[in-house]
């Protein structure tokens, strides 16, 4: 088992079920002891590949997917939907899955519904704008806020 096996298992389970696997399930799926799976989760988190709930092995983020509901939903052409950690990540879900799709979210200021639509690899025109409050070099000081 490599850390990449674990990373891919987490992503594939999130895509398939919407739920991130716990270390016990990952260990069983990859035929390794739970402690080895837990150590892989720790390394992936240390390397900023996944984000865990503090003090646990519960996956919070496995970019571009969120393991918890958010207000940034990637709704795919195949009828399935997935939570992104932010609009960037929700667009990333569409890129990762290689399908047409749309990101359904809301205006941060006024809660008006906003949709970004991707068809045949192109983003449909929109009047919406993106705002980054935190410079790139500081994103990982608090990735959940970023």
């Amino acid at each position: 088992m490599t850390d990449d096996d674990v990373r891919l298992h987490i992503l594939r389970e999130l895509i398939a079920s919407g739920t991130a696997p716990c270390v016990a399930d990952t260990g069983a799926a990859l035929d390794v002891p739970e402690s080895d799976a837990a150590a892989a989760y720790d390394r992936l988190a240390a390397n900023r590949v996944i984000v865990l709930e503090p003090g646990t092995h519960d996956v919070l983020m496995a970019a571009p997917l969120s393991a918890v509901p958010t207000s940034h939903i990637a709704r795919m052409a195949d009828g399935r939907s997935h939570y992104g950690n932010c609009v960037w990540d929700a667009l990333g879900v569409i890129a990762m899955l290689g399908q047409d799709g749309g990101v359904e979210t809301v205006c941060t200021d006024c809660d008006a519904p906003l949709t970004l639509t991707v068809r045949r690899g192109a983003l449909a025109p929109t009047d919406a704008v993106v705002h980054f409050a935190v410079p790139a070099a500081r994103w990982w000081e608090n990735i959940v806020f970023t």
């Binding site: 990540d89 008006a112 983003l123 993106v130 705002h131 790139a136």
Partner: protein, 70 residues
């Protein structure tokens, strides 16, 4: 990273919270970044971008000022 209906809504939201305005750009630029950033995540052997690679992705979307330096 947040989405707004317009720059007017960005400015109002920042003012109400006493926050400095950060970087404002278009969803098209964000899509240009999101494709290389996330598009190969399901590939075996995927690796996070190095800072130089990440800055090149930002630059490909026209995001080149110091806000985007790593």
């Amino acid at each position: 990273m947040l989405l707004f209906r317009s720059e007017e809504h960005v400015n109002r939201w920042c003012e109400q919270r006493g926050l400095d305005r950060g970087a404002v750009f278009t969803p098209e630029q964000l899509w240009t970044v999101a494709k290389p950033w996330h598009g190969r995540r399901l590939d075996r052997g995927w690796k996070r971008f190095t800072p130089a690679e990440a800055e090149a992705v930002f630059a490909g979307a026209g995001l080149t000022d110091t806000f985007w330096h790593l």
